[in-house]
């Protein structure tokens, strides 16, 4: 068994036991990265030299007893919309191509304190707007299982990096499914925590009321450990929630006896790939055999989540992205006449088509005369959707369904029809509107050999139930890595 076959927690234990050094772990990941990157392109940038230097420092602190945590020495990747101090953070956009943050995101600070080694910054849809990682200004990421297919998005680089053995775990961000859907497409486990659990300080904002950083890893245990290490109450984020406890790994228990799991009938209608349906229903039966009570029910309002989301997310994006004006950081267009012309030319040249599309829609729905009809209407719909979930969680501990209606589409198939691409978010998006935690766990592969993800949703603050059920399900399977890892460094 090679280093890359270990999970992050297994690696952490071996580093602690002095069987593997932090430097050896980083070297293995870098070697694999150099091998896989030409085919996968998971990273916007990575820095060998600083990763190795950091690994040496971490090893010293492990040796002298300063660092004792389970993730000390573990190589981690960070999505490129999460600020890393002194290291380029681009949001996969031309407009931030050379942006070097002067501070790190709180989640990154927490991980550094836990002793992880950051390898690099992962590719994403530009400003997290997209479901395929194809809107990146620096070229698409490819699915490690089959390079003709997308890895999903927007955290496609993080998902691909974990699946391809280019890191042991990664941070992603999830505004409408951007952690869970690529995790599903790449055969890894990804979790969106309850809104406010991981500080958004240093996460470059897209839709602030929906954005949440979360863990992406090979299995549920690693996800729980990464969540535990990243989460904290943070005064620098006014929407940060002070939780009663941050101990998530204690929920790694193989027991779902008596747990009530609801399956929304609406999730299994038109548009769902039959192979995905079969794999997800088989997963439900597995949980039932382990003692969970599984029932179908009517969730309601499922079809209204996507239109409400696109109004709210675009509105918030148009406001959040107004800060990119070519003055304080980033790209500035040359040859402009006067201030306003410079703003316009900078933004028009610096943003890609999907970002411009959402800024335009957002500006429209917030404009006088349309604000009530679109923006407030969407916020009222959001309140109704939240009520539907409150009703569901009065009866069920968890909601079970697919993470996405299909497996990973081919490159180039999605961008031509935006609404069709948006419809792919149907199972993930409502969790963001309602602030709920959700997890995607691998539950099979289709006939093309592409991974399928099972999604579990919990009520706000019920991460432990999610982790317990996902962990119990995972015990019935073994983690499978794509060929690109198997042929890799041993």
């Amino acid at each position: 068994m090679g280093i890359l076959d270990l999970t992050a927690l297994e690696l952490g234990r071996k580093i602690k036991a002095k069987e593997i050094s932090a430097v050896e772990a980083v070297q293995a990941v870098l070697e694999q990265t150099k091998k896989a990157e030409p085919a996968v392109h998971a990273y916007v940038s990575y820095d060998e030299e600083s990763a190795l230097k950091r690994a040496e420092e971490v090893q010293k602190k492990i040796d002298d007893g300063t660092l004792t945590g389970p993730l000390a020495g573990v190589p981690v990747a960070v999505k490129d919309n999460i600020c890393t101090k002194g290291y380029k953070t681009t949001c996969s956009s031309r407009i931030l191509e050379n942006f070097v943050p002067t501070y790190a995101a709180q989640a990154v600070e927490n991980l550094i304190a836990a002793g992880v080694v950051i390898i690099g910054k992962t590719n994403m849809d530009e400003f997290a707007m997209g479901s395929t990682t194809e809107t990146s200004a620096f070229g698409p990421t490819k699915n490690p299982w089959n390079q003709e297919h997308v890895p999903g998005g927007s955290s496609g680089g993080s998902a691909a990096a974990v699946a391809a053995g280019e890191c042991f775990m990664a941070l992603g961000s999830d505004t409408g499914g951007s952690i869970r859907q690529p995790s599903s497409f790449c055969g890894i486990t990804g979790m969106k925590p309850t809104y406010g659990t991981i500080s958004r300080y240093g996460l470059i904002a897209y839709g602030s009321s929906l954005d949440q950083i979360g863990p992406m890893a090979k299995d549920v245990s690693d996800c729980a450990a990464l969540l535990e290490a990243s989460a904290s109450y943070d005064k620098k984020d006014s929407t940060s929630i002070e939780r009663d406890e941050y101990d998530f790994t204690s929920a790694l228990v193989d027991d779902v006896k008596g747990m009530k799991i609801g399956i929304p009938k609406d999730y299994f209608g038109e548009g769902l790939d039959p192979e995905v349906r079969e794999a997800v229903m088989a997963a439900a039966r597995t949980l039932e055999k382990k003692g969970a009570v599984v029932e179908e029910f009517d969730l309601g309002l499922v079809d209204y989540a996507i239109p409400a989301y696109y109004v709210i997310a675009s509105a918030e994006a148009s406001s959040n992205l107004s800060r990119f004006d070519g003055i304080k950081y980033g790209y500035r267009a040359k040859g402009a006449e006067g201030l306003h012309d410079m703003y316009k030319k900078t933004r028009s040249g610096g943003f890609g088509p999907e970002v411009k599309r959402r800024i335009m829609l957002g500006s429209f729905v917030l404009s006088s005369g349309y604000y009530d009809a679109y923006y407030l209407k969407a916020l009222r719909t959001k309140a109704l959707i939240k009520q539907e979930f409150d009703k569901a969680f009065a009866s069920y501990d968890l909601i079970l369904g697919p993470a996405a209606p299909t497996t990973a589409p081919k490159l180039g198939e999605s961008l031509s029809d935006p609404i069709k691409m948006y419809l792919g978010d149907i199972y993930t998006i409502s969790a963001n509107l309602a602030g709920l935690p959700g997890i995607s766990v691998p539950c099979g592969k289709d006939s093309k050999g592409l991974p399928i993800g099972l999604q579990l949703l919990g009520d706000c603050f019920q991460e432990k139930k999610l982790i317990r059920a996902a962990y119990a399900f995972e015990q019935t399977r073994t983690y499978e890595a794509p060929e690109i890892v198997k042929g890799g460094v041993q």
Partner: protein, 97 residues
């Protein structure tokens, strides 16, 4: 198409969004916005009378702190990101005639 976006509207939204679109981009933006709005109009099927708009899932309150500087002086690092700088300040195009 139920929704029609006029040239004037696209022009106006472009001003709000601070985006300068080419003729071709404008036509595309009109089409995109029309089809998105047709789709979003689905929300009108819902009776939302008397429903409070929900901007945040959890109650959001002002978070106060003492007005004490806790970060260091990183003026140099901040200015290093500026596309144009001079004498410790950001340079902007002339704004006053």
């Amino acid at each position: 198409m139920a929704n029609h976006i006029s040239d004037e509207t696209i022009e106006y939204v472009g001003i709000l969004a601070k985006l300068e679109l080419s003729g071709e981009e404008k036509e595309q933006a009109k089409k995109d916005m029309e089809s998105m709005l047709d789709y979003v109009d689905k929300l009108n099927e819902l009776d939302t009378d008397g429903v409070e708009p929900m901007s945040h899932v959890f109650p959001v309150n002002n978070v106060f702190r003492e007005d004490i500087v806790t970060n260091g002086d990183d003026r140099e690092e901040i200015l290093a990101n500026a596309p144009e700088r001079k004498d410790g300040a950001f340079v902007v195009p002339k704004t006053v005639e």
